[in-house]
C-alpha cells in the first residue's frame, strides 16, 4: 500500500478538495499521487536560500499599475440574470442543501 494512503494523507487531501474516490480507485490514485509528489519533490534540491517567492510576474514592482478601482457604482446583474444558471431557485433565492 502506498504511503500516502497509509498515513491518511490521501483521505485528508480528498476531503480538502471535496472529491471522493471509490474503493477500486484508491490504490491507483494513491500510487499515482505518490509518484507525482516524488517527481515535484525534486524542486527541493535547488538551493533557494535568500530568494524571495515570486507571486506575480509583471506587476511586482509597478506601484502605479491597474491595481485599484474607484469607489464607483457599476451596473450589476438583474435578478433573473443572477439566478438563470442556478441549479435550484425559489423566488429571489438560490436554494442549497441545508447548512445548519
Amino acid at each position: 500500500m502506498s504511503a500516502v494512503i497509509k498515513e491518511g494523507l490521501l483521505d485528508r487531501i480528498c476531503a480538502l478538495a471535496k472529491l471522493e474516490l471509490e474503493e477500486g480507485e484508491r490504490q491507483r490514485a494513491g500510487e499515482e499521487l505518490e509518484r507525482i509528489i516524488a517527481y515535484v519533490n525534486q524542486i527541493g534540491e535547488l538551493d533557494t536560500e535568500g530568494t524571495e517567492p515570486l507571486y506575480q510576474v509583471t506587476l511586482e514592482e509597478d506601484l502605479e499599475g491597474n491595481v485599484l478601482r474607484e469607489d464607483e457604482v457599476r451596473e450589476g446583474l438583474t435578478l433573473e440574470e443572477a439566478l438563470q444558471n442556478a441549479p435550484k431557485r425559489e423566488g429571489d433565492f438560490f436554494v442549497v442543501p441545508k447548512t445548519f
Binding site: Q56, L59, L63, D71, E72, V73, R74, G91, V96, T99
Partner: protein
C-alpha cells in the same frame, strides 16, 4: 479547591466599511435591498471573474489603523482562505494573512489601561443564509457577499467583560468619527468575536481558548463572557480540559454551543491571491491620509469647552457620538446660543436616546429644524412644555417643528378670556387646594398652576397662569 482563576480575553472585531461599492466589484453595499439584486458576476463568483480592489477600502482601513496608532504596512497583499460553504460563492474568502494593511496599534481605555491591537486586515463579507422550515433547505442571498470588512484583532489584553465593553464603545466612537462604518451591532456592521481562556491567578501560561460568535449586543457580549468564563472554570475544576473550538452564543438560552463538528478537516490553505497584485502604499500616501484625519473626540471635546464654553461634563457627553456632536455644532453655527442647544441635547436628547434605545446616528432632527424650534421657544410662541413635545416628535422622525406646531395648533394661547375662564374652572373644581392655598400653603398654588396647564394642554405660559391665579384668589 480554592484556586483563583483569571479571565483572559482577546477580540476579533469585524467592521463593515461605509463604502458605496463592494470591496472587489462595483455593486452597491446598501442594506435591506431585494435579495440577489446587488450582485454581479464577480461577487457571485462566476467563472472567469476577477477581483479589483476598491481604493476607498485601503483608505478607510488605513485611517482606522492610523487612529489606533498602528503602523501601516508599505506593501499589503490579499490571500485566499479556502473552505467550502455556500455563503461564500467562490468557496474561498479573500482576506489578508501574511501582509495585513495595519499592525501593532493600541487603544487606551478612559480608565487608563492600554489594549494592544495586533493587526487590522481587510476582507470580504459573505452572503446570507436562511433556513427554509418547509423544505428543510437553505436559501442564499448574495447581496452582502463582497461587502468590505476590516477585522481588528486585539492582543489578549482584557481581563473583564467591562473592559471589553469600554473598549468597544471607544472603538465605535473612533470609527464613527472617521465615518468609516455605521457600527451597528444589530445590522451586523459591527461584529465581535470573543476569544476567551482562563488561567490561574499570577500564572504566565495562557489556557486553551474558545472563540465565541453570534454576539449581537453589548449585553450579550457581557453575558457570554461571564457564562463562558464560568463554564471553563467548572471544566477545569472537575479535572477536565478545554477544547480549542468555535462556539455559538444563544442569547435566548443564555448559553453557547460548539459550532463545527470535530471530525471536519480545518485547513484553510492560505496562499497569496494571484488575481490581486500587492498594493504599494507610499509614505506620501500614508502622510496625506494622516493629515486628512478628522478631528477626533478628544480634540473636539477640548474645542467645545474652549470655543462654546460648554462645561466639561457636557462636552464629554456631547462628543460621545459624532452624530450628537455634529447636530450640536451645526445648530450652533446657525446662530443659536450654544447653551440653549446643549441644554436640549443634554436633557431631552440623552433621555430620548436612552429611552428609545436609539443610536445617535439615527437622530433625524435637522440643525435647521432644531434652530427653529429653539427660536419659537425663545420668542415665547411655544411654551417649554410644547418645545419638549415637539423636540421628541422631531427627534427620530425629522418632521419640521414649525409645521408640527402649526398643524396641531400648539402655539401659546394669548386669549385672556379663555385663560381666565379656564382658571376659574380650575378654582371651582379644586376647592380643597384653594382652601390650602388661602390657608398659607404655597405648594397648593403649584398644583393649581399644573391643573390649569394641563387643561390648556401646555399651551399657556406658566408665569401668566400663576399671575392670573394669584389675582383671582386674592380677594
Amino acid at each position: 479547591m480554592g484556586k483563583t482563576y483569571e479571565t483572559v480575553i482577546g477580540l476579533e472585531v469585524h467592521v463593515e466599511l461605509a463604502t458605496r461599492t463592494k470591496i472587489f466589484c462595483g455593486c452597491k453595499t446598501a442594506f435591506g435591498a431585494r435579495p440577489n439584486t446587488l450582485v454581479c458576476p464577480v461577487c457571485l463568483g462566476m467563472p472567469g471573474t476577477l477581483p479589483v480592489l476598491n481604493r476607498k477600502v485601503a483608505e478607510l482601513a488605513a485611517s482606522v489603523g492610523l487612529s489606533l496608532h498602528c503602523e501601516v504596512n508599505r506593501v499589503t497583499r490579499f490571500d485566499r482562505k479556502n473552505y467550502f460553504y455556500p455563503d461564500n460563492p467562490q468557496n474561498y474568502q479573500i482576506s489578508q494573512l501574511y501582509l495585513p494593511i495595519c499592525r501593532d496599534g493600541r487603544l487606551t481605555l478612559s480608565e487608563g489601561r492600554t489594549i494592544r491591537i495586533h493587526e487590522i486586515h481587510a476582507e470580504e463579507d459573505a452572503g446570507k443564509l436562511m433556513h427554509e422550515e418547509r423544505s428543510g433547505e437553505t436559501l442564499v442571498d448574495y447581496n452582502r457577499a463582497g461587502v468590505p470588512l476590516i477585522e481588528i484583532v486585539t492582543e489578549p489584553d482584557f481581563r473583564s467583560g467591562e473592559e471589553v465593553i469600554a473598549f468597544l464603545e471607544q472603538l465605535k466612537t473612533t470609527i464613527e468619527y472617521l465615518e468609516a462604518s455605521d457600527c451597528k451591532l444589530q445590522e451586523g456592521s459591527l461584529r465581535v468575536d470573543v476569544n476567551l481562556s482562563i488561567k490561574e491567578q499570577g500564572s504566565e501560561r495562557l489556557g486553551v481558548r474558545t472563540e465565541m460568535k453570534n454576539l449581537n449586543s453589548f449585553h450579550a457580549i457581557l453575558r457570554a463572557i461571564k457564562v463562558e468564563g464560568e463554564r471553563q472554570r467548572r471544566i477545569l475544576e472537575d479535572g477536565g480540559s478545554i477544547s480549542l473550538e468555535t462556539r455559538r452564543w444563544d442569547d435566548a438560552k443564555g448559553e453557547s454551543f460548539p459550532m463545527r463538528s470535530k471530525e471536519e478537516v480545518r485547513d484553510y490553505r492560505y496562499f497569496p491571491d494571484p488575481d490581486l497584485p500587492a498594493v504599494h502604499l507610499s509614505e506620501a500616501w500614508i502622510e496625506t491620509l494622516r493629515s486628512r484625519l478628522p478631528e477626533m473626540r478628544k480634540e473636539k471635546k477640548e474645542r467645545f469647552i474652549l470655543e462654546y464654553g460648554v462645561p466639561e461634563y457636557d462636552a464629554e457627553l456631547l462628543t460621545g457620538s459624532i452624530y450628537l456632536a455634529r447636530l450640536f455644532e451645526r445648530t450652533v453655527a446657525l446662530g443659536v446660543p450654544p447653551k440653549k442647544v446643549s441644554n436640549f441635547l443634554m436633557g431631552e436628547g440623552l433621555r430620548l436616546l436612552r429611552e428609545k434605545e436609539m443610536d445617535a446616528k439615527d437622530i433625524k432632527l435637522t440643525p435647521e429644524g432644531f434652530a427653529r424650534l429653539i427660536a419659537m421657544n425663545e420668542e415665547k410662541r411655544i411654551t417649554n412644555a410644547v418645545a419638549k413635545e415637539v423636540f421628541e416628535a422631531a427627534f427620530d422622525s425629522g418632521i419640521d417643528p414649525e409645521a408640527y406646531v402649526a398643524g396641531r395648533g400648539l402655539m401659546t394661547v394669548r386669549d385672556e378670556d379663555l385663560l381666565r375662564k379656564t382658571v376659574e374652572k380650575v378654582i371651582a373644581e379644586n376647592e380643597k387646594s384653594v382652601r390650602d392655598y388661602l390657608g398659607g400653603k404655597e405648594k397648593a398654588l403649584s398644583f393649581l398652576v399644573g391643573q390649569t396647564m394641563k387643561a390648556m394642554k401646555g399651551q399657556a405660559e406658566p408665569a401668566t397662569v400663576t399671575a392670573l391665579l394669584k389675582e383671582l384668589l386674592s380677594v
